[in-house]
Subunit: 153 residues, 2 copies
């Protein structure tokens, strides 16, 4: 009993085209599917009779876990304060090969919403790695994590 696996992490975003471009063009995600859904079973699940969304499924090539993006055309919503210390706030962590290079590249593409430059992980099991937090176009927090080099022992 219980769950069998994880399928996706979903985020509500304000502009599907903008978010898809960000995740695809800057983070290398692959668009697996896009569709528009209105009413029906979706409305029953999310609890809005007038639910109308544009959605996309993305994946990092080679991985299984899906990123689901929902733009609600209806009903209109507010904005979540996704500051890390707030209960209910979430972040999605991407593994990257070369965080310093990606950090440069994202800046060249106009990304300014870093909480810090790459930080050296200097203690614990990930010692030797690098990580940072950055906001996506809606302020959603992403972690970019470069694991430590494989140890030869």
């Amino acid at each position: 009993m219980g769950a069998k696996s994880l399928h996706h992490t979903g985020y509500t975003i304000s502009n599907l085209d903008r978010s898809v471009a960000f995740y695809r063009d800057l983070l290398g995600c692959e668009v697996v599917a896009t569709q528009e859904k209105q009413g029906g079973y979706l409305a029953a699940i999310v609890g809005y009779p007038d639910a109308h969304v544009r959605m996309a499924h993305l994946r990092v090539p080679g991985g299984e876990h899906v990123i689901e993006l929902f733009e609600y055309l209806s009903p209109p919503g507010g904005r979540v304060d996704v500051e890390p210390r707030n209960v209910g706030a979430s972040h999605l962590c991407f593994v990257v090969d070369d965080l310093r290079a990606l950090y440069e590249r994202l800046q060249e593409h106009g990304v300014r919403s870093f909480l810090s430059p790459p930080v050296d992980v200097d203690t614990g099991i990930n010692r030797g790695g690098l990580a940072l937090y950055v906001h996506d176009p809606d302020g959603i927090i992403l972690e970019l994590f470069q694991p430590p080099p494989a140890r030869t022992s």
Copy 2:
């Protein structure tokens, strides 16, 4: 360039022991690691000089994607309104074998925070499946999804 894979989905929760019990005992997650971290590189990444967290990594057995739970002991935070239509809201989707049975079992264990009973997915590629949304102990939205039976063609 870009990301290589996804590592985890992180949530800030208010009580680590309570959340670990929920994800482990009711959803069948395995606790991969727990630790307490203060200051240092964590503070630099999350942007709080006084950052002090209790954390756990959980996994659905057989899967790779990690659920990271952070209880902030410092600094104190507020609460996010994770209603699905709000930009920045997130949900995590679990695949289950028998949603109706799990729905009964969760209710027997006192879970009341379902947005709906199991909903028949009656159109699209997941036609024949079942799904619902439910809040975790902090109001974080989880989707429980039973895929359609494999088709023999």
